[in-house]
Subunit: 350 residues, 2 copies
């Protein structure tokens, strides 16, 4: 009768009720501070229940609470690529850091959907036995996301927030205003006199890549500039460098920090001085700054802040009393610019 296949008969509200000599419902009421309103529980009873609660160290079964229809303060985190391998670390770690801090602040736990099977390098959100429902809401992280999948999520009533701007309609996000920052940085270069510019873009850039490209184009629009946009997958730096040499720009704009560093090494090796012979701008920052990094003139996206903001947006979406206005559902935050040492005026040729 008292046996159980699971743990040594864990404690329930019914047991607490027995111990305190009240009904199980009363325990629930006390536990959830619903003791005001219609149901006023006398101080004395309340204290008795509270005492037993303390003594036993009881906590309500989250699964049961959830089933009974209350939120359980769990924020799902779905990363489109595995989050902790070293390759992804630079991208995800600062985000997760901000997410963790804000979740802690709000008293939320984080459910990381590692079970989603990886197909062709990308995690599949909807798989049999997915535990999406367990979370009150879900944060979506990744460079690229399938628009149809996002639409399905929203249609099925999941509360989600994407980290990073999304083209897909109806999906709330917090993103970084890469377009403006890129444009501002490029204008600075134009003012210095650069008129021959090459942009080494990241092949798998997603929306944020598109934004950076847009900023680049906006800055150059109407200026008489020789410009080439060259996509790279970061895998064949040698070939990329050859393309750079061939075009011979005075300014090289590189999307990815790691590609930027590799290209600069190539330049040095080829006897081309950066920045005197070739200025460089990088549209991002390595997450872990090591002392010996080149001090690139670059964009410094506030990723930790972004993660935190995504959590708080999601939590407001989930709240009853603080729902965000329509305009707050899709916002961009400013991207800092770091005045590094790799952007100078081009050498003047006769």
């Amino acid at each position: 009768m008292t046996t159980s296949k699971t743990s040594p008969r864990r404690i329930t509200q019914r047991r607490i009720a027995e111990l305190a000599g009240v009904s199980q419902a009363t325990v629930s009421l006390v536990l959830n501070d619903k003791a005001d309103g219609a149901a006023r529980i006398p101080e004395e009873t309340r204290d008795r229940v509270l005492k037993v609660l303390k003594e036993t160290g009881y906590v309500a079964d989250p699964a049961a609470r959830r089933l009974a229809g209350v939120g359980n303060k769990i924020i799902g985190v779905f990363t489109y690529e595995p989050a902790f391998p070293t390759e992804s670390l630079d991208f995800y770690t600062p985000l997760l850091s901000g997410i963790e801090a804000e979740a802690e602040e709000l008293g939320c736990d984080l459910l990381i959907f590692t079970s989603a099977p990886v197909v062709e390098g990308t995690r599949q959100l909807f798989h049999q036995h997915n535990r999406l429902r367990l979370a009150d809401g879900v944060l979506l992280l990744g460079r690229e996301m399938d628009a149809d999948e996002l639409a399905t999520l929203v249609r099925d009533g999941y509360r989600v927030v994407a980290v990073g701007r999304r083209d897909a309609p109806d999906i709330p996000y917090v993103g970084i205003d890469y377009a403006s920052a890129t444009e501002a940085l490029l204008r600075r270069a134009l003012e210095l006199g650069h008129r021959r510019i090459m942009f080494l873009t990241d092949a798998r850039g997603g929306e944020s890549g598109a934004d950076r490209l847009r900023g680049y184009e906006r800055a150059l629009d109407g200026e008489s500039v020789q410009s080439v946009v060259h996509p790279t997958d970061g895998g064949r730096i040698g070939a990329d460098w050859l393309a750079v040499r061939e075009f011979a720009p005075t300014l090289l704009v590189v999307e990815s920090p790691s590609v930027g560093a590799a290209i600069r090494d190539q330049a040095i090796a080829d006897g081309i001085d950066v920045p005197t012979a070739l200025s460089m701008i990088v549209l991002g920052s390595p997450s872990r700054v090591s002392e010996n990094d080149v001090d690139f003139t670059r964009l410094a996206p506030p990723r930790a802040e972004l993660g935190g903001l995504a959590v708080s947006l999601l939590s407001r979406i989930l709240s009853d009393d603080d729902e965000p206005a329509e305009s707050e559902l899709r916002t961009l935050i400013d991207c800092a610019i770091v005045d590094g040492s790799t952007l100078v005026a081009p050498e003047v040729h006769a």
Copy 2:
């Protein structure tokens, strides 16, 4: 009647049953492949249900499953310090990487208990509303853990595995055999002729710190060696370095990689060459190796592997058909030694 305060009336087994023209129980049976044994469901019915299941993209509510008593493939992860801030990153990241990979392999999600309030730098495991119960089992990560708390966990029937050796009885763990590795490394130094040795220990070392100290002492036992053990909190490197200068060892053993790097900088600044004037051994590795790191002779704990092993031990503990033997519940794995460039024979003085 069809309204709901939550999502747009999410789909349930009852709905699936209606659609397929069977009973709700049959849907559950098909879903869980319990269609053999006593209840044989005809292929035709089964297919019909399966078809509807596919079409609707139905997945069972994990909270309800959990409440009904089935495991839900969620592994809880409790970190005694916040996991993602930069300070903790070196310690937690490789562990999480291994944990993530193995969880993915097993089809498990990870529930990170970020909601646990931080008191004096340490997260409190048992707080009101903790969601420990939601996980099938819990992984415990951290340098130091409260023995009483661990005992409570086990007593309350939680299935847990600690990452790192624990003194507390009855608690399963996977740890690293720091004692043997430290001993082996020190013996190597002794063979080279070192007889004046200083050990800069980490103040908050926990069990693994104790193991390293034990290995150190075992190596020196019976040898005629001048030895000093000096604890540091890593905060006052200047003072630590003064202590080193005063004792003037030929070999300095440093527990923490970051302290090791800082001390070496001090040595260089003071004109003391490493390793000719002072050999150094570090009893750990920085998680992120950057090119310009000193190539310390050191221990290289396989942390990612450790994380993965902890997950698989936990999953075996949770399984019905593959429960680990008593002896497998508490195991240590070997720690690699890296032959760096900072350990050489001491200079011979007259």
